[in-house]
Symmetry: C2
Subunit: 363 residues, 2 copies
């Protein structure tokens, strides 16, 4: 899922360039009539990170403390996710026994992207393991928008489908926003609908679903006994899928949240003040050991493929955080892989279960 | 409008207590089944600010620089708002000449609150001045929810109404959320609908309306030539009406935003790092001179009535910011009154004009 987030990020980057100049004009107070409010800046302009000497392109800085020992506890997302999934298995069979129904998740995959195929395969496998029925709609790369919309509508009408997942990214010729907006709110288990996001952000409102990866990050913190309230939290990256909802969730838990993005001057300095750091940038090792306050808790959402001839597929996954440095500074950290990744799917299952319970009024 | 914000804030405080204990349970990782995600914290728990010695209850600290001179430029919201309103007047008459239509704003006032009556009177007066037609529905305090909903529905159907404004707070026996949700999105000139808020928060999305007070704050910055991109901004307070949308807007303008609230430890320390400070707490003089970085730009949204026998009504309005201290530290600051206040109404007029232009496809 994080992989998906990154793809979306890049895609938005391409899309957004045109708006940059408009944006800059309006910063300077020009370019809009006096009676008109300044043009609202489109947040789809690209977040292009300029790599500092502190990133993996420079020589490694000395560790923030003088020991070379690992001080950080490893937050084992894999085992926490398994725990959650076994709990879901229990709930699903309890539901089946009580009302003869099980939750259903429908996945829509358009095209042949290998990464998307892998993500979808993993999600369906995870559904089977916990007893959630999964439906799969595979459409060819050259399908029309209407063909996809029709599939979504079918799943919207199908009462045995409690969650609908459109695997992103969609082919370039399709309007992602248009298609996602058709997914019925009560089945938007990804929680990407703006109404969900607004309700997540606002006091006294409750979203129907919380996006899976951010929800997984918070779960990792809570289940590791990390207190969030009153703590300084820094979220690095501001994507719709991870950065934004994670910052909203952390604030809901009463952290003092700062959002660091590509326009931030001295991101390392701001990050160094945080008790909790969540990184969702999509650049390998951008967060170095000297970006972290000793004792900070680090949640690394990045899953960046980097070449590695020694590994089976010729590449391995690396996080945003320079792990070897961070473990000497942080008090706790999620590994990549095996940290946030497994939680994302567990939260998808959890959202689908919640959705089914709502639909069947089963408690 | 800020006055309204504060009332809402207090109201939410009352409402929210019950959820606090639930909340605290889940911080500690208890109180939820292993298979269930932790209960989502309701953001309607009260933000009760503990007043530090640095607030107006302690002796005034020495000014951050040793001079007693005012260094800050005064951001004259009154004259900027007038400028905007005269621009709107021009647009309204251009519209009238071109298509024979003028924008229409409908205001719904329930009950006899004196402050609400004043706000509504000012809004209607402002409409008249720029040529916007205003409709007014006054309902008695003991009206039923359905009676209010009916009035909203009428205005929803009325094509000459481009904006609908429900004056808050509503009487305690009414469900504010339910009533606000009935206002048709294309007429929600207050921009309080969660879908609007979600679209304001998300990359690549555009809200139909931006809430008036936050929009006014950004306008004051832009029209004063303050660059926002890449700057550190601190928003103090996180209400749905001011704090939240202001933080989202500042981020849209590529500031690095931190949100300070009642659970924040050392708010003064975090605020002291900001290039731009927007305060919307609702406590007189809570932000002292030593909370500010020399040269910071200060937008004071607070309008707090404090007793003043010497003044006509026995009270005067004071901001959140200790003005006499701040003017010696900041590079620019909004006065109270005469800062953000006039902008809020100007932005309401601007939103109503934009709404009419959209409805009549007039550019």
């Amino acid at each position: 899922m994080q992989g998906v987030a990154m793809v979306v990020w890049r895609k938005m980057g391409k899309k957004g360039f045109s708006s940059t100049s408009r944006a800059l004009k309006s910063f300077n107070g020009y370019g809009y009539q006096i009676n008109k409010s300044p043009p609202l800046l489109a947040l789809d302009i690209p977040d292009i990170w300029t790599l500092h000497s502190t990133t993996n392109h420079g020589p490694p800085p000395p560790p923030a403390n003088n020991s070379n020992e690992q001080t950080a506890a490893i937050i084992d997302g894999k085992s926490i996710a398994e725990e959650i999934r076994s709990g879901i298995t229990g709930e699903v069979s309890r539901m089946k026994d009580a009302i003869g129904k099980v939750p259903g998740l429908a996945v829509i995959l358009v095209g042949q992207r290998r990464d998307s195929q892998t993500y979808v395969r993993n999600k369906i496998k995870a559904c089977e393991e916990v007893g959630i029925t999964s439906l799969m709609a595979k459409l060819p790369e050259d399908s029309t928008e209407d063909e996809v919309l029709n599939v979504v509508s079918c799943f919207n009408e199908n009462p045995s489908v409690n969650g609908i997942l459109v695997q992103l990214p969609l082919p370039q010729h399709m309007d992602e926003e248009k298609i996602l907006n058709v997914v019925r709110l009560e089945k938007d288990v990804d929680g990407f609908h703006p109404l969900n996001m607004g309700n997540l952000a606002m006091r006294g409102r409750e979203p129907l679903f919380v996006p899976c990866t951010p929800k997984g990050c918070i779960e990792l913190l809570l289940r590791s006994g990390v207190e969030i309230t009153g703590k300084k939290a820094v979220v690095i990256g501001r994507s719709n899928i991870v950065g934004l909802p994670t910052s909203l969730l952390l604030q809901r838990h009463h952290a003092t949240v700062s959002i660091v993005h590509a326009f931030t001057k001295n991101p390392e300095q701001i990050t160094r003040e945080a008790d909790i750091v969540v990184s969702a940038v999509g650049l390998p090792n951008i967060v170095r050991g000297n970006w972290l306050k000793p004792g900070a808790v680090v949640i690394d959402v990045g899953t960046n493929p980097v070449e590695d001839p020694s590994s089976e597929h010729g590449y391995r996954l690396t996080g945003d955080v320079c792990y070897n440095e961070a473990v000497r500074v942080a008090s706790a950290i999620t590994p990549v892989p095996g940290g946030v990744g497994p939680m994302t799917i567990a939260m998808l299952l959890s959202n689908t279960l919640d959705s089914a319970k709502r639909a069947y009024r089963f408690t």
